[in-house]
C-alpha cells in the first residue's frame, strides 16, 4: 500500500425511517435456550425402540465393485436391516436445485443413493446398517464383505479434460461450462497500455461445523416417514420421496436448530438413509455421523484454478478482461454447475469493464464431491480478482485504492453480464473505512515485515432469478395478543428465526418476547425455501413483513372504527394500539384482537413473496440479469510476516459492509465477525488435503480451523444504505463477509514481503518459497 493512512470517504445522505425494534441489538429469541443447554439438536433426540444406523462407505476412489456380500452382517444377532442398492426402488439421488418447482433435472447429474457396481470417490455410500445398538451396527459394518477392482482414477481437473483421461461418468468429464461474452475483448486489449496476466489457485476446504450431520426418522400411523434432521433444506422431502418410492406427502421433514451448516448441510446428508431404514424396519432409526465420517461424507468447497488477463490504460482504466476458471467438481456434480455460474458471474469483481470474456468449466474427478459453501464460488473468484487488482495497481505504480476507485462499479452501472445495479454501491465507502480503521502502520521489526492489504467484493443475495424463488410465511395473532410466525426457513445459527420475529414484532407492535416462531417443517410450516444463498432474510423477511402488514391493516381498520380516527392516525407499539400523538387514547392489543375475533375478521395471513423472475440466459454469453441484487463491502488487514520462518500473523483485522439495513445489529456483526474468521482460516490455515483421491484431513487436528488464539477479533463496521431489496431496505450479509478476506490477506502478505503467494492457504512454506523465488 502506498499511503501511510487512509481517510474514509464521506457517506451520501441516507434517511432511514426510525423503527422501534428493527435495527436494535436485541437478545435473539433462540439465544437463552441455546445458552442454557435446553435446545434439542438433531443428535439429541431419542425414541423408544430406536435402531442405530451406520453407513458402509467406499475405501477406493475409483473401482468396480466385483462382489458385495452383506449376508454375514444381516445374520448378526441384533441387526435389523442391511440395505444395498439392490434394495432401493430408485437409487438415483436427484441433485436438483433444492426447493425449486419446475426445475429441469440435468442429465447425468445423479449420484446414486448407494453405489451398486462402481464407486467414484472415497467415502461413497455402499450399504446401510440398522441395529439394536451402535456397537452391533459397528460390528455389522465389519462383517460386510466387498471386493473392489481398482480402476484408473483422475484426480486433477486439468488432467481430467485431456483426451484419454479416465472418464468418471459418461460421456466425458465436463460437468458444465458457462461463458460471458461482453463487448470486444480483442479490441479492448489493443486499447490497453499494459496487459497483466496471472494464475491463482485455491484448494478443497471444509465447512467444519461443530455439529456433525445427524437425525432420527420414524414411520407414523399414517404411513408418513417423519425425519427430524439438521438440514438447510427441508424441501429435500421431494427427492427423498422419489428415492424411497413414496408420494411427496408421505415424507415429513422436521428441521432442527442447526449446529452450523455454511452450505455443507444444503445437499442431502443423513435424511435419505434414515428414510430408507425407517421404511424398511418400521422402527425409529437414528444416524449421527462421527467427525471423521462427517469430514469424508459431505461436500467440499471447490478448488479453482483462475487465470486473469487484464488490459489497462496508463490512466488506470481497465479496457478488457479475459478470465479462465477451472473448478474441480469431484466425483458427482451436486451443485457444481451453479457454483461455477456464481464464480463466472462474479469473475471480474465489482468493476466497470467494457470488454469481458470469461470461460468457466467444472470438471469431474475422483476427488471428494464439491458443492455449496458460504459464498458459493464468490470467495474463489474474489481471491483471484482482488489480487489481480493489486497486481495491476503495482504495475501501474498506483495506490491500490486509487486504482480501484477509477474502476469501481457505481449505481446504474452494468455488471459483466449486463445486469444493471439499482441499489447503493458503496465500494469506496466500505474500503476506505476499513483502511482508515487500520490506523497507523506498525513498523517492521528485523526479519518481521509488516504489510497492509484489502479487498473489495460483490456478492449476490437471493437466488439466481431464473430459478423463480418464492418464500411463504404465515403470521397470526392469538387472542391474548401474542404473535405466531410460521415459516419453513431453517435456523442455521445466523439468526434467521430471530429476524422474522423481530420484523413481526415491529409491524404488530409487540415486544420481541411475545413472538413465537415455528419454523423448519416441511408439512406444518409454509414452505419458505432454503437457508442458503443469503436469501433467508431477503425472502422470508419480506414474506413475514407482507403477512404481518396484512394483519396490521385488519387491526388498524377495526381500531379506526373504535377510535373514530383514520387508520393512518393509529399505531401499534408495546402491545397496545393508540392514536398517534395521543398515546393516552389507547387500548391493549389483546382487546382489539378479541374485538376482531368476535366479528370474524382474519387475524392471520399467509403471504408469498416472489423474487424477480427472469428467463434463463444464453450460456454462451450470459447477458442479462442473474441475481436480484448484490451486497458490497471490503475487508482490510495488517499482517506481520516472519521472513525467516514464513509465519504470517494478523495484527489488525477490519471488515466494512453495507448491509442495507441491519434488522438485528448484534446478529449482523456476528455474521461479519464469524464469516471473516472463516475467510482468515481459508487464507492461512485451511486445506482439505486429498492425495490421489484419498482424504488426509479427516480429523479436526488435521483439518485446522481458527481457534480463539489465531487471529485478532474482527472489527465490524456496519453501514446502512437502506437500498436493499430485503425488508426495510436490508441487503444480505450471510455469505458476504467471507468473500473478500483471503484476497485481503494475500494482498497484505505481498505488501509486506514484495512477492506474492498466489495459492491458498498461505502457509509458512509457501511464503518462504515465494521469497526464495524472488531472491
Amino acid at each position: 500500500m502506498r499511503k501511510k493512512r487512509y481517510t474514509a470517504k464521506p457517506l451520501p445522505p441516507v434517511e432511514l425511517p426510525e423503527l422501534r425494534l428493527v435495527g436494535k441489538p436485541l437478545r435473539r429469541v433462540d439465544a437463552l435456550g441455546k445458552a442454557t443447554g435446553a435446545t434439542v439438536y438433531a443428535g439429541d433426540f431419542f425414541m423408544p425402540h430406536m435402531l442405530h444406523a451406520r453407513v458402509f462407505r467406499s475405501t477406493e476412489p475409483s473401482a468396480r465393485i466385483r462382489r458385495l456380500d452383506v449376508s454375514r452382517a444381516r445374520a448378526l444377532p441384533g441387526v435389523a436391516c442391511v440395505l444395498t442398492a439392490e434394495d432401493l426402488p430408485d437409487s438415483r439421488l436427484i441433485t436438483d436445485i433444492p426447493g425449486q418447482t419446475g426445475q429441469r433435472v440435468r442429465k447425468g447429474s445423479e449420484a446414486p443413493v448407494l453405489a451398486s457396481d462402481r464407486v467414484r470417490y472415497v467415502g461413497e455410500p455402499i450399504a446401510l446398517v440398522a441395529a439394536e445398538t451402535p456397537e452391533i451396527a459397528e460390528r455389522a459394518l465389519e462383517l460386510i464383505e466387498i471386493e473392489y477392482e481398482p480402476l484408473p482414477g483422475v484426480f486433477d481437473p486439468i488432467e481430467a479434460m485431456k483426451p484419454g483421461a479416465p472418464v468418471v461418468y459418461e460421456p466425458d468429464n465436463i460437468v458444465a461450462r458457462w461463458k460471458i461474452r461482453k463487448g470486444d475483448v480483442r479490441a479492448g486489449m489493443e486499447m490497453a497500455d499494459l496487459v497483466v496476466e496471472n494464475t491463482y489457485r485455491v484448494p478443497f476446504v471444509d465447512h467444519a461445523y461443530i455439529e456433525p450431520e445427524g437425525g432420527v426418522a420414524w414411520v407414523d400411523e399414517r404411513g408418513v416417514i417423519n425425519i427430524r434432521v439438521s438440514t438447510q433444506v427441508v424441501e429435500h422431502f421431494r427427492s427423498i420421496a422419489r428415492a424411497v418410492g413414496v408420494p411427496h406427502n408421505k415424507i415429513h421433514i422436521i428441521g432442527t436448530m442447526l449446529g452450523g451448516g455454511f452450505g455443507g448441510k444444503e445437499d442431502i446428508t443423513v435424511e435419505i438413509f434414515l428414510a430408507l431404514l425407517a421404511k424398511h424396519t418400521r422402527r425409529p432409526v437414528r444416524l449421527v455421523y462421527t467427525r471423521e465420517e462427517s469430514l469424508i461424507a459431505h461436500s467440499k468447497r471447490h478448488p479453482f484454478i483462475i487465470t486473469h488477463r487484464t488490459g489497462v490504460r496508463r490512466d488506470g482504466r481497465i479496457t478488457a478482461a479475459e478470465i479462465e476458471m477451472i473448478s474441480d467438481a469431484g466425483a458427482y456434480p451436486y451443485l457444481s454447475p451453479y457454483v461455477l455460474l456464481y464464480a463466472v458471474v462474479m469473475a471480474t469483481g465489482p468493476y466497470r469493464i467494457p470488454n469481458v470474456r470469461v470461460d468457466g468449466v467444472t470438471v469431474a474427478t475422483n476427488n471428494p464431491f464439491t458443492s455449496a459453501f458460504r459464498g458459493f464460488g464468490g470467495p474463489q473468484a474474489a481471491f483471484a480478482y482482488e489480487q489481480q487488482m493489486d497486481e495491476i495497481a503495482r504495475a501501474l505504480d498506483m495506490d491500490p485504492l486509487e486504482f480501484r476507485r477509477i474502476n469501481y462499479l457505481r449505481t446504474g452501472d452494468q455488471t459483466a453480464t449486463g445486469q444493471v445495479i439499482e441499489s447503493a454501491v458503496w465500494l469506496e465507502e466500505t474500503a476506505s473505512r476499513a483502511l482508515e480503521a487500520l490506523g497507523e502502520k506498525t513498523p517492521d521489526q528485523g526479519p518481521v515485515k509488516i504489510g497492509w492489504g484489502f479487498a473489495s467484493y460483490f456478492q449476490s443475495y437471493g437466488r439466481i432469478t431464473w430459478l423463480h424463488d418464492t418464500s411463504q410465511a404465515w403470521v397470526g395473532l392469538e387472542l391474548d395478543g401474542t404473535v405466531v410466525v410460521r415459516s419453513g426457513i431453517p435456523e442455521l445459527g445466523a439468526g434467521q428465526v430471530n429476524s422474522l420475529a423481530q420484523i413481526a414484532a415491529e409491524v404488530l407492535g409487540v415486544p420481541l418476547e411475545q413472538v413465537t416462531v415455528y419454523s423448519t417443517d416441511s408439512a406444518l410450516t409454509p414452505l419458505a425455501g432454503t437457508s442458503t444463498a443469503t436469501r433467508g432474510l431477503y425472502m422470508s423477511g419480506n414474506a413475514v413483513l407482507q403477512a404481518a402488514s396484512t394483519v396490521r391493516r385488519v387491526l388498524l381498520d377495526r381500531a379506526s372504527k373504535h377510535f373514530e380516527e383514520p387508520p393512518d392516525n393509529l399505531d401499534l407499539a408495546d402491545g397496545r394500539v393508540f392514536v398517534r400523538g395521543r398515546p393516552e387514547e389507547s387500548m391493549p392489543l389483546a382487546e382489539l384482537v378479541r374485538m376482531c375475533a368476535a366479528e370474524g375478521l382474519p387475524l392471520s395471513n399467509l403471504a408469498l413473496f416472489k423474487a424477480p423472475f427472469t428467463d434463463p440466459l444464453d450460456p454462451e454469453n450470459l447477458q442479462g440479469r442473474v441475481f436480484p441484487d448484490f451486497t458490497f463491502g471490503a475487508h482490510a488487514v495488517e499482517v506481520a510476516v516472519d521472513t525467516e520462518t514464513g509465519q504470517v500473523r494478523v495484527l489488525k483485522n477490519v471488515a466494512c459492509h453495507d448491509v442495507g439495513r441491519a434488522i438485528n445489529r448484534a446478529a449482523v456483526e456476528g455474521q461479519i465477525e464469524g464469516g471473516s474468521f472463516q475467510g482468515l482460516g481459508y487464507a492461512l490455515l485451511e486445506e482439505y488435503v486429498v492425495k490421489e483421491g484419498r482424504p488426509q484431513s479427516v480429523t479436526l487436528s488435521e483439518y485446522l480451523i481458527p481457534t480463539s488464539m489465531d487471529f485478532v477479533p474482527t472489527k465490524a463496521i456496519v453501514l446502512e444504505s437502506g437500498t436493499g431489496l430485503g425488508p426495510f431496505g436490508a441487503k444480505g450479509i450471510g455469505e458476504p463477509p467471507l468473500t473478500p478476506v483471503a484476497a485481503a490477506v494475500a494482498n497484505a502478505v505481498a505488501d509486506a514481503i514484495g512477492v506474492r503467494v498466489r495459492e491458498l492457504p498461505i502457509t509458512p512454506e509457501r511464503v518462504l518459497e515465494a521469497l526464495k523465488r524472488a531472491s
Binding site: G33, I210, G670, G675, L700, I705
Partner: protein, 164 residues
C-alpha cells in the same frame, strides 16, 4: 466387559449408573439425559463436550466414565436455567455470543473454569482460556465480549478494566 455401578454427581444430582468400562464420560452423561453435553469430535479437538470434573474443565470424551466414579460433574445446563440463568449464560445471550449454539455449552464451561481461577481476565487470558473450544460461527469476538461482561457482573469490585 461387565458393567460396574458407579456414582456420578451431575449438576448436584447424584446418580448410580451401571456402565461398561469402555464408556466415556461424554456418552455416560448423554445416556443419563445430559444432552447439553455435545458430541463434536470425540478426540479432544473441539471442546463441545467440555464439563467441569471436580472443578476442572475437561473434554468429557477423553475421560473414561469409571475414572470419574465419585466425581462432581457440572455441565452447562447445571450453570443455570432460562428462568435463573448464570451471568455467563445471560451475557452470552445478551451480547450475541450464541449463533448456532452447538459450541456454546462447552464454551460456557471453559469460561466458567477461567473465571473461577481468574476473576478479572484480560482479553488475552480469555482467548487463551477458550482456546480448546472451537466455534465456527462467531469469530469469537462476541464470546470474548460476553465473558468480559459476565466477569464484571460476577466480580464487580476492583475490576481493573473499569477503574472506579
Amino acid at each position: 466387559m461387565e458393567p460396574k455401578l458407579i456414582t456420578l454427581t451431575v449438576n448436584g444430582h447424584t446418580h448410580h449408573v451401571a456402565l461398561k468400562p469402555n464408556v466415556t464420560l461424554l456418552h455416560a452423561l448423554r445416556q443419563m439425559g445430559y444432552i447439553d453435553v455435545k458430541d463434536g469430535c470425540e478426540k479432544g479437538d473441539c471442546g463441545a463436550c467440555a464439563v467441569l470434573l471436580n472443578g476442572r474443565a475437561v473434554n468429557s470424551c477423553l475421560v473414561l466414565a469409571w475414572q470419574a466414579d465419585g466425581a462432581e460433574v457440572l455441565t452447562a445446563a447445571g450453570l443455570g436455567t432460562a428462568e435463573h440463568p448464570h451471568p455467563l449464560q445471560e451475557a452470552f445471550a445478551d451480547v450475541g455470543a450464541v449463533q448456532c449454539g452447538y459450541c456454546t455449552p462447552g464454551m460456557l464451561i471453559a469460561a466458567k473454569a477461567l473465571l473461577d481461577r481468574t476473576p478479572y481476565p484480560t482479553e488475552e487470558q480469555i482467548r487463551e482460556g477458550i482456546s480448546g473450544n472451537l466455534c465456527r460461527c462467531t469469530g469469537y469476538a462476541k464470546i470474548i465480549q460476553a465473558i468480559q461482561v459476565a466477569a464484571e457482573k460476577i466480580s464487580p469490585a476492583a475490576s481493573p478494566a473499569k477503574p472506579e
